[in-house]
């Protein structure tokens, strides 16, 4: 199930709110666990079993690690840690990457091993990373063990963050799982946040996606430069509003149930370098790789060679995490190289340039990155890349002018919407009206009603509601 659907808004969420708030406090984690299983099973009735297995493995692993540590048997603890992490990774590896590996082997060895053609279990990359972070943190002593399988299950399956993150680390919500206070204020905060995300996804991302879909299927041989860039810009916005909208909805829903998840996006398109971009984009993933891969590998402590080694390892894995295809690997390595270049070669020089140049540089490398990300067929991709740099032998044609002016309002909203401007403006207006009784509530109410009605109109009328970050 996805949040941006009629099913979620008008069936699932109302029902869950009733069940959750009608239940006594001590049963609320159980309610969350059960409804989350339904939420997951709705589209993946069989794979829910896989998720339960994964939960049981990591929960048991956590218990064992904790117990051995208490008994001072650090070797046994280490083995338990290794076994349960390996088990989680094997499930992820098998279901996500088996066919990719087989295809590659077939290509290299000219063999003909039949593919498994498994469909990817939704959210497996997200929940596997959560379970792994839990066991490692228990081993490191930075998280306390969760003995209650219901609370632990609720943590892993919790529907707001289940299928598209943020990747919530157990230690950040341990206390909230044990005792939390839902309140009208938290709920209202959640409503505002959820509606923000809902609007981003349904009104902005989907429409940007329509434009990209129109352009990506055009013949790259005759595609003018301008159209190619409008297309990749549309995709750039689609993927941001889609993913960050989904994170907003997750964080908003968390608030409604009394949870505070960490932020996942911080206006990444305002960055002045690729390094900064990754501090602002999918923060929970970056944090995860830093804590569990980069730092353990030595990070920057072992000189330049060590830095290069650990950076490239992280970015290779980041690429692979995003999908079982070569373009994701290339995309990951691309950022690895960029970040190293910025750190070791031209980062300082870049900072001395005018801000606007830094922004242009950042958006340029980010858009090239999204181009790599979007094409998993090398042949089609190279044609499009060529078109972006003049391969269509035209700067623009009447089609590009048409795309530009008929999408002008949308593009303007997309650009402004990805900056801090709207939030700053809203904050300014609302703080001025701090003492007014009625106006702030009218403004907020109008926002909620408008986004709700407009979004519902799009959901009802559009069969077009794909979700980009679904297959991770």
């Amino acid at each position: 199930m996805v949040f941006s659907s009629l099913l979620f808004l008008f069936r699932f969420l109302p029902l869950v709110l009733i069940l959750y708030f009608a239940a006594p406090r001590r049963l609320r984690n159980l309610v969350l666990l059960l409804v989350s299983l339904v939420f997951y099973a709705w589209g993946e009735p069989v794979y829910v079993i896989l998720m339960i297995v994964s939960i049981l493995i990591s929960w048991t692993g956590g218990l064992m690690v904790d117990r051995y540590l208490c008994q001072g048997r650090s070797k046994a603890a280490k083995i338990s840690l290794a076994v349960s992490v390996a088990a989680g990774l094997s499930l992820l590896g098998f279901f996500k990457y088996a066919d990719f590996v087989l295809r590659t082997v077939n290509q290299l060895a000219h063999s003909d091993i039949p593919l498994l053609s498994l469909s990817l279990p939704i959210g497996i990359s997200f929940y596997t990373f959560q379970t792994i972070s839990y066991i490692i943190d228990v081993y490191r002593g930075s998280a306390s063990v969760q003995k209650n399988i219901i609370s632990y299950g609720a943590y892993v399956t919790m529907f707001p963050q289940l299928i598209a993150g943020p990747i919530v680390q157990y230690k950040t919500i341990d206390r909230q799982l044990r005792s939390r206070r839902e309140s009208a204020d938290e709920f209202a905060l959640g409503v505002m946040r959820f509606m923000c995300g809902f609007g981003k996804k349904v009104l902005l991302a989907n429409n940007a996606g329509l434009l990209w879909d129109q352009i990506r299927v055009m013949d790259p041989g005759t595609l003018p430069v301008l159209t190619a860039w409008i297309g990749i810009a549309a995709y750039t916005f689609q993927i941001y509003f889609d993913f960050s909208g989904y994170s907003d909805m997750a964080i908003g829903l968390g608030h409604m149930f009394g949870f505070r998840f960490l932020e996942n996006f911080d206006h990444p398109y305002q960055s002045k370098s690729a390094t900064e971009f990754w501090r602002r984009w999918h923060i929970s993933l970056g944090t995860w790789f830093r804590e569990y891969v980069y730092i353990p590998l030595g990070g920057s402590r072992n000189g330049t060679a060590g830095l290069i080694r650990s950076t490239m390892a992280v970015w290779l894995l980041t690429g692979i995490w995003h999908g079982a295809d070569w373009n994701f690997i290339v995309w990951g390595l691309y950022y690895g190289v960029l970040l190293l270049l910025e750190k070791l070669v031209y980062g300082k020089a870049l900072k001395k340039l005018p801000g606007v140049v830094q922004h242009i540089y950042s958006m340029f490398v980010v858009m090239i990155g999204w181009f790599i990300f979007s094409f998993n067929e090398i042949s089609g991709g190279m044609g499009y890349l060529g078109a972006m740099f003049g391969g269509g032998r035209k700067l623009f044609d009447s089609g590009s002018i048409y795309q530009l002016y008929s999408n002008a309002v949308m593009l303007a909203v997309l650009i402004l919407g990805s900056t801090t401007l709207p939030a700053a403006l809203a904050g300014k207006v609302l703080s001025r009206l701090e003492d007014a009784k009625v106006i702030p509530i009218i403004l907020r109410g109008a926002f909620v009603v408008t986004v709700f009605l407009a979004g519902t109109a799009y959901l009802v009328s559009a069969s077009y509601n794909p979700f980009l970050y679904f297959r991770f």
Binding site: F10, A188, S398, I401, A457, V460, S461
Partner: protein, 384 residues
Amino acid sequence: MKKHQSVYLNTIFLLLIFGFAAANILRPQKERSETENRTLVKRPALTWDSLISGEFAKEYESYLSDQFILRDQWITLRTGIERACMKQELNDVYFASDDYLIEKHTGTFTQENAQANITRLGAFFQNLEASYSPEHLGCIIVPNAVKVLSEKLPAFADPYDEKLYLDQLAAALPEGVWIDALDVLARSHEADGSRQLYYRTDHHWTTEAAFEVCAAWLREKGIGNLEADQFHVTTVTDFFEGTIASKLGIAHRADSIQRWDPVIPYDYYLVYNQSDEIRNSMYQESYLDTKDKYAYFYGGNNGLIETKMPDSRTGRKLLIIKDSYAHCFAPFACGLFDEVDLLDPRYYNASIRELMASKSYTDVLVLFNAAGFAEETAIARLLS
């Protein structure tokens, strides 16, 4: 946010989701949508198999969207938002000038089937060449509004140029078979732009456009002369909101439908689908009260409609293999033949070859609209 503000905001949100949820559950289900002209999905039955396969989930979501309360109004709202944002097209339809809604037909002519149909049509006519001379064969593929009315499109819009496809078709046919409907309509539009050749809200051409092309075909084949003053024109409805308007779900400037009757009438009767269903009018008033008003002509799509003119002594029998574009076209031909049969390959299930052999037609005409022809999967049946 202050406490009382939170409570208000929460109330608004909860009212919205619970209100619409309750309204949707309580309201009776609808069988079909008039605007969209289709059956709506109803609440699916829950079975173990459908649940496990995920089929139930899919069906249930279609049901929710199809049966959503005020469905038509939501769609209108969405279209309104798009218009307010200066979007020039929606659902592959241009908002053209002069209140025209014009379908873009993206991808229609580049798909495999479009190319295959060219070959199929060529083969069909080559087979006929043995028994018919070119003046008894005709092929009219009517360009769509997007081509003929291209000056009405939004500035800089560049849809697929249908002429490319029509030229390919013309080249695939034996000499003398192709009738250049694009040329006829383009000239007509150029001569008098106020003439309405296509409906503003529907994908069909108008009776006037059909007249122009029919006259050109009859003249070119030497069958007869058709002049506008041989007809008197009656407007049968002013409230036609066709399929394109439905696609967008907006109330739009309605069209009127004209019927052209010969000043000197002739007797005819119609046999539907080779059954005992005999009718005595090409026009069926009852459809003017429905959404599907274009079905006023011949009552919509049928496999085979034989129009017999008992008093006619021309010695000519015409077969028109066609889509619904022929429905406002065929009446113009009837005065010049003893019999005019309309065959729709999508609905005619018997062998077309056998029918042609048994009925000994003197003339054969193929008439489709270009986009419809390119997408039509039943063209292969012409060879069966």
